[in-house]
């Protein structure tokens, strides 16, 4: 049955993946059901909670609102692609140290939003962090530990960049 659908190819976490699915199938369902990447979660199905956030061509998107067709040829990054070769991303380290994850259900989306934020703005102010994460709801933490985690990751990234710069000299 699935053979009858046109092939849609996207690069997911650095790998080319082709699926044959109805073109209006939600990217979230393609990731979870067809590619078995269950990190992104469905919290509301209408773009309010941000639990399904992934990065698509460098933009943060709610994958529950993106039809598969729109992802044709796109570069997709999910939470599974955040750590590299078993080394945690600085945000994953700081969420672990600062208590940024509690129940963990918003965490994959929250991490993607935070990654997007600090990539664009390596040293965000508290106001910028609040704005950058405003599309991602967390019911457990009251956001304080998450803000602290993002600040910590930004500080650590800044430090390691400074160290690299120092060594380069």
């Amino acid at each position: 049955m699935s053979e009858s659908w046109p092939a849609i190819t996207m690069q997911v976490n650095g790998e080319n993946r082709t699926v044959r699915v109805p073109p209006m199938k939600r990217l979230l369902d393609v990731l979870r059901e067809d590619l078995h990447l269950t990190g992104a979660k469905e919290g509301c199905g209408e773009g309010e909670c941000g639990s399904c956030s992934v990065r698509m061509d460098g933009e943060l998107v709610n994958s529950c609102l993106v039809p598969a067709l729109q992802a044709e040829g796109a570069e997709i990054q999910t939470v599974e692609g955040l750590a590299s070769n078993g080394v945690l991303h600085p945000l994953q380290e700081s969420f672990l140290a600062c208590g940024g994850a509690q129940c963990g259900i918003c965490t994959p989306g929250m991490l993607m939003a935070a990654a997007q934020l600090i990539e664009r703005n390596p040293h965000p102010s508290m106001e910028e962090i609040r704005e950058g994460l405003a599309g991602n709801l967390c019911r457990c933490t009251g956001f304080m530990r998450i803000f602290e985690s993002v600040l910590e990751a930004a500080t650590q990234t800044g430090k390691s960049q400074a160290e690299q710069a120092h060594h380069a000299r």
């Binding site: 979660k41 919290g43 209408e46 994850a101 129940c103 259900i105 709801l137 019911r139």
Partner: protein, 753 residues
């Protein structure tokens, strides 16, 4: 006792036990699981609040042979969810008593076929008059449950209230209301069930209390203990919302699995979860208070009513906790509390963090500010004059044996918030600005663990075992859903056994493996279950010592070597302990007197709120929390509990409104049921004063529910301080503020401070 001793792991902010799994997307929630040959299930629900079911017909346009169809007639055992009273059917049979009550279950291999099928099941009703509010229920004209509509009633009396009024210098009355509140866990309710005649029923799901689900399934399927297996999957938030509802969903998934012969997954979408599952009980609390000329409490008469919804569920125990928290942390010689939970035709209300206490404390702490305003006293001073101290008795005549440091907490809160100088500054600035700022205080306690004799009835069993591959496993039925159960209990076992954090694991949350250490509710896990793990670990060391002598193992290697010797001799290395009440605990369920709780956590919260008189918005700008929760076992997790609870409390006060139309939730979407976002939550300051409690694990008391108790009254007290207007009902939305402020502005009355 270990409380004063220096510790290695307890008290340190070790990484969350399951943290890495959650951070890399590896943690497995129920919707992440696929079983071979799995079908998907859904629910056909009532569309009216009350009525008799006349007929169920299936539209011939659908090929129903592809579906498994379940009705009440398919229930092999008792058609009831087993809670306090078995009055809630698993599936409605002859009559529905609330909207969105489950009637028919459907399953199909393709989940996309389900929506259309639900619409093709037609249910004809003979509508009956419905009761949709506390007031309608207490009129007792239409009886919707039992002979009286009263689900449960408590009277708590102390002294003689009736004689106190004549001695009073002041009598102050007030009525306070709180609305329903949705848990809004980001993971909706979900369950997978698998059935075979040989193995019985197995369910995997998002849940708090595996043995609650186990009990209902045994009864619904008429199966013995060993033929029912409940496995908790990673749970994406609960807050009480997955205390009782998962029993219903597990039964539904199980019935479909049995009927279809396939594993069946049921995961609610957000709209269904919001419309059909439990919420916090709405309440109405009336206070009448007598004071002497110095502002000392002489008498309190409290009438407390909750809307319990259509079935008993947990309303009796929620009401009990509301009753026991209704008088605040104050000394008062004459008290009468009359509390009733009323049945209505609303979706049954259930457990939500705080469990009745936030409702009762909202009324008490708002009322304290009304008293202060009436008698012309500083609300801080009024509270200080009436605080409980060590050696005093509270409303149930429980002697405060442990230190009570409310004055110290209050002083700290005033200092941290710079309370008096800020209020002075706001008074100055408010005179001219459009934005009016104010500060509000709430003082409160929260009882840790089950109420009264509840912990004895639970008779919890928990402990540790050592596996052949040299791992210690913590054996409990207490579950992780974000609050940190895994981490805290692992810390306690590792600390006591002299091992590393990494030497200890949690046994899988599977009723086939774990003992019943009670439900994961009531702020009991750290204090009560943690203590069992501490005792069981000490007992294990003693077992090893007695067995192998001559002393306790001094190193990790000696410990595991001793365990291996013990296993060779006895077959397994396992140490379990049963709950033992602290000495001197006495509770009378009939008179509601005695030791209501083994321990209390205490707190003073301060809210700074800005009310914009142009758009009538109220914004919490800063929040201070000072609390005594016994010893803090993990500072980062503890802070996370307080901050998360405060954020939910802010939502409870200012954002979260369940809009009902004809008994049905009308705003059952995240688009229009609004919780605080990253931009709404203010800086929250968290301060702990630690007094170790000697009967809690390493000095711990309960912490999880406390932070939901204080924010709402503190915020509305701050709004009163800012605007001079006393709002007595939550949620308080801009339109509610507009309704009062706009009228007052027309009258050109100056703000009263």
């Amino acid at each position: 006792m270990s409380t004063a001793a220096k510790t290695r792991i307890v008290g340190a902010s070790v990484p969350r036990k399951e943290g890495v799994d959650k951070l890399v997307g590896r943690a497995v929630y129920v919707d992440d699981i696929e079983r071979d040959g799995m079908w998907h299930g859904t629910t056909v629900r009532s569309t009216i609040p009350r009525g008799r079911i006349k007929s169920i017909t299936y539209d011939p346009g659908i090929d129903w042979s592809e579906f498994a169809i379940v009705t009440a007639a398919d229930v092999p055992g008792k058609n009831h969810i087993q809670l306090i009273v078995a009055d809630q059917p698993c599936l409605a049979e002859a009559q529905v008593n609330h909207c969105d009550e489950p009637i028919v279950l459907l399953a199909h291999p393709d989940k996309h076929k389900l929506r259309e099928a639900v619409g093709a099941v037609h249910i004809d009703y003979e509508p009956l008059s419905a009761v949709l509010s506390i007031e309608e229920s207490e009129r007792q004209e239409i009886m919707v449950l039992g002979e009286s509509n009263i689900i449960k009633e408590f009277t708590l009396e102390n002294g003689n209230v009736d004689e106190a009024w004549v001695q009073a210098a002041h009598i102050v009355e007030g009525e306070y209301r709180t609305g329903a509140q949705e848990h809004l866990y980001i993971e909706t309710n979900g369950m997978i069930a698998e059935w075979s005649a040989a193995e019985g029923l197995t369910v995997w799901g998002s849940l708090q209390c595996p043995f609650y689900v186990h009990k209902t399934l045994k009864s619904v399927f008429d199966l013995p203990d060993e033929k029912v297996r409940v496995i908790q999957t990673e749970t994406g938030g609960a807050f009480g919302g997955k205390e009782d509802y998962p029993s219903t969903l597990a039964a539904h998934a199980g019935l479909l699995a049995m009927k279809s012969g396939h594993p069946v997954k049921m995961v609610y979408d957000r709209m269904e979860d919001l419309a059909a599952t439990t919420k916090r009980h709405p309440s109405r609390v009336r206070h009448r208070t007598a004071l002497d000329k110095d502002g000392r409490l002489l008498a309190m008469e409290i009438d407390l009513a909750t809307d319990g919804g259509a079935y008993s569920t947990l309303s009796a125990t929620v009401l009990s906790r509301a009753t026991l928290h209704s008088c605040g942390p104050y000394v008062c010689p004459n008290i009468r509390v009359r509390a009733r939970a009323w049945a209505t035709n609303m979706v049954p209300y259930g457990a939500f963090r705080g469990f009745g206490a936030p409702q009762a404390i909202f009324a008490m702490e708002r009322h304290m500010d009304e008293i202060a305003a009436t008698i012309g006293m500083d609300p801080v001073e009024l509270r200080r004059r009436n605080f409980l101290h060590q050696g005093d008795q509270n409303a149930t005549e429980q002697l405060m044996r442990e230190p009570v440091i409310l004055n110290q907490l209050l002083d700290r809160a005033l200092a941290e918030s710079d309370y008096y100088s800020r209020r002075e500054r706001f008074a100055r600035e408010n005179a001219t600005g459009h934005v009016k700022r104010g500060l509000g205080i709430a003082a409160f306690y929260h009882g840790s663990g089950f109420t009264g004799s509840g912990e004895l009835y639970l008779n919890s069993l928990a402990g540790v075992e050592v596996t052949k591959d040299n791992k210690v496993r913590v054996m409990v039925s207490n579950t992780e859903f974000g609050q940190g159960t895994n981490t805290i209990l692992t810390q306690i076992a590792a600390e006591t056994l002299g091992l590393a954090f990494s030497d200890v694991e949690m046994a899988p949350p599977d009723t086939a493996v774990i003992p019943n250490s009670g439900p994961t509710v009531a702020s009991r896990t750290s204090m009560v279950v943690g203590r069992l793990i501490e005792r069981a670990s000490l007992q294990l060391l003693e077992m090893l010592c007695n067995d192998g002598g001559p002393g306790a193992p001094a190193t990790r290697e000696q410990f595991f070597a001793a365990c291996n010797r013990y296993r060779d001799a006895h077959g397994e290395v396992r140490s379990l302990c049963r709950y033992e009440a602290p000495p001197g605990i006495y509770w009378d369920d009939k008179t509601y007197h005695g030791e209501a709780y083994g321990a209390y956590a205490w707190a003073i919260y301060v809210a700074q709120v800005a009310v914009d008189t142009r758009d009538y918005s109220a914004e919490v700008e800063e929040f201070w929390t000072v609390q005594e929760v016994g010893r803090v076992l993990h500072p980062v997790l503890a802070k996370g509990q307080i901050e998360g609870g405060v954020a939910q409390g802010i939502g409870y006060a200012l954002y979260e409104k369940v809009v009902c139309q004809d008994g049905r939730m009308a705003n059952n979407q995240m688009t229009n049921y609004i919780m605080p976002t990253a931009q709404d939550v203010p800086p929250i300051h968290v301060i702990f004063e630690e007094i170790p409690f000697k009967y809690g694990a390493y000095g711990a008391k309960g912490i999880g529910e406390l932070p939901h108790d204080g924010p709402a009254p503190a915020i509305l007290n701050a709004i009163r301080d800012a605007t001079g207007v006393s709002f007595k009902s939550i949620p308080l939305l801009p339109e509610d503020i507009f309704a009062v402020l706009a009228t007052r502005e027309l009258a050109e009355e100056p703000a009263i401070r």
